[in-house]
């Protein structure tokens, strides 16, 4: 940390290069085939392989890449990005051999509920990580999960599974705060994707509303709309900074990173939902048609807010930690 860049805003050159490559891939390969991917219910193997190939690097690199790829098409990311939201569970599992074996085939379920409605990437992923409190478990799903169509992410091959009949493969008590770190990593994943989905929704909305004329001027130039869009642009900017800051916290070993990642997820989902809703509203009836991608992003943004236990589990985690997490900037300043 230096006086000139207190929050690490400047990305390293190699991360910038990766981001630029992911951006080209998102624009040239993912975006043009969005509806094809949805119809197929999966990304083509070669597309998924390229996305998987972007793996590596720390949490910040990963967040930047997810955010960028999601601007092109997020619908296959839950299946293609491995271990994705379960990265924190894989890293935290004390049984390293088991963690390595489960790394390629898992999803993270948050909470004590006995059922989980949706898990992507099946049948490759027969194991599911379960996180509640500071307890981490890996369970093998029994029986034959049924394919289900989810609200969004149709190219991820989701299934409905019943954890109630599943056999535990292993269960561990993590150090205090370890559970929040695991869940924070999952939320960070969803938050980064939410920023990308939100950015794509915003860009598409601006493109449409600055071109279409109503009452003698572009839709976006009526002040009621301009003010709303400006506030959304500010919100997206803040969410992106929060996501990257939380990701850097994990990379730097900040014990409160799970708290800030959960905060970043709340921020990013709220903004993505608002942007994608405006994306339909400002397109009017067109926004409700599948001819535009506004409806897809509306569904994706909302669904990202339901993952990793949803809003209530996140609030539970934040409330449990809020009295103890120090100020991230001034915590080290002498009293």
């Amino acid at each position: 940390m230096t006086g000139a860049d207190p929050a690490g805003f400047g990305l390293a050159e190699e991360v910038e290069d990766l981001r630029a490559a992911a951006d080209r891939f998102a624009r040239e390969v993912l975006a043009p085939a969005v509806r094809d991917h949805e119809r197929a219910g999966r990304w083509p193997d070669e597309v998924a392989a390229v996305v998987d190939g972007f793996a590596g690097g720390g949490c910040l690199t990963r967040a930047v890449l997810l955010e960028t790829l999601a601007t092109g098409d997020a619908s296959g990311l839950p299946a293609a990005d491995r271990p994705g939201p379960a990265s924190g569970a894989v890293d935290a599992c004390p049984d390293r051999a088991l963690a390595a074996a489960a790394a390629e085939a898992c999803w993270l379920h948050v909470g004590d509920a006995q059922t989980v409605a949706w898990a992507p990437g099946w049948p490759a992923r027969r194991w599911v990580w379960v996180s509640a409190g500071d307890r981490l478990a890996l369970v093998e799903v029994a029986g034959g999960p049924e394919p289900v169509e989810a609200l969004a992410f149709g190219a991820s091959g989701g299934v409905g599974i019943d954890l109630g009949g599943s056999a535990p493969v292993g269960a561990w008590d993590l150090p205090p705060g370890g559970g929040l770190a695991v869940r924070g990593r999952a939320r960070l994943w969803a938050a980064a994707v939410a920023v990308g989905v939100g950015q794509a929704a915003f860009d598409a909305t601006v493109a449409y509303t600055t071109e279409r004329i109503v009452f003698g001027r572009p839709v976006a130039h009526h002040q009621a709309n301009a003010f709303d869009l400006a506030a959304l642009a500010t919100g997206l900017h803040g969410a992106r900074l929060a996501v990257r800051d939380a990701a850097a916290g994990f990379d730097d070993g900040d014990p409160a990173a799970g708290f800030w990642a959960t905060q970043a997820w709340r921020e990013a989902v709220a903004v993505a939902v608002a942007v994608s809703e405006a994306g339909i509203q400002l397109l009017g009836g067109h926004g409700f048609l599948v001819d535009h991608l506004a409806e897809k992003r509306y569904r994706e943004a909302r669904m990202l807010g339901l993952l990793a236990g949803g809003a209530d589990a996140a609030l539970d985690d934040l409330a449990a930690a809020v009295l103890d997490v120090p100020d991230p900037l001034l915590g080290g300043v002498p009293a």
Partner: protein, 395 residues
Amino acid sequence: MIGLDPASRALVAEVRDLGRRHMRPMGLEADRTGDPPPPDHELYLLCARRGGLVDRTLGPDPGDAEPGPTWRPLRALLVAEESAYWDRGVALSLPGPGLGGAALRNAATPDQRERFLAPFADHSRAHWGAMAMTEPGAGSDVARIRTRARRTGDGWVLSGQKMFCSNGARADWVVVWATVDPDLGRAGHRAFVVERGTPGFELLRIEHKMGSRGYETASFALDDVEVPAGHLLGGEAFYEARRGFKAAMATYNLTRPIHAAQGVGMGRAALDLALDLVRGDFPAQGRRRARALERLADMRRGLHVARLICLHAVWLARQGRDNALEASHAKSYAPPAVYRAVTAALDIFGEAGVRRDRMIEKLYRDVKILDIGEGTQQVQRLVVARRVLGLPRDE
């Protein structure tokens, strides 16, 4: 992950110490009496003797390989946030060149900079600078200022009226914005340094405010004030191609994130009051505590994001990069987030929060001006919309 270098940590610790011992008590006293602390107050002398808190945000960073911006925006932001934590009004009253200093950095010639910033090297007493832009008929729309600047043989004559000039009555000089011709719009703007005591430059009054009472908010009359040609900020050539107006706006690009950071400090103050209450007075279990904890989490989220946006905007400024959009993001996001934090803290306090002997009540009155000064929320959205949506300027 955000963090501070050792020198910045030391500066914050110093401000914290001054804040605890001086700023908070001074702010409460000013709030009670309605009068800002006098210019010869012990704190101001202390700040002056230490080289000034704000002054120390000037000058290059140690170790700078090349001459860069002669301003340390991060340090300025830290001083702003931490001092506003203790009392924003008193923070604004701290000695230093203020908004006028930002105008000097943007527009002044090297000679003017040296001359008008020289008093701040005198540590025997406190010095202030100020800037006067707003007029009774021109607030958010600064292009409509009507204070006239007329050329004379060897200088200029200024006539008009200014208001909302922070520290204006105690400043050594005030940067006054005027127009050579209102019909020219922004192209007619000129900035002048008017020194205290110049004949015709008359204080009309110190405003009485709902909150943030720790600093002067002055109104002036300019009654045919004669200023030398050398006091035209930047010289004549500077104002070609509407650079005058752009300089005014660039001033705000530097200061808006700092202004927003003051809000983060105030929000932190509200957060800490609420945290203390919940820790000490709330039952260990129960719905009221659970609800308060969720409110506290939301307060922390808003303040954290606001701080990141402010830091990002000054990070850009530090590199000499255009930060107009990001400065408006900061000024647009932070005040509402801080307002929500303060009102949430009030909800946590409940009826106890209405009492005038509770700091939280004062914060609620203090905080509202954040969303007005240096460009309202609505002005910030206009700036963002122009940049992001191509909204025409005259819409």
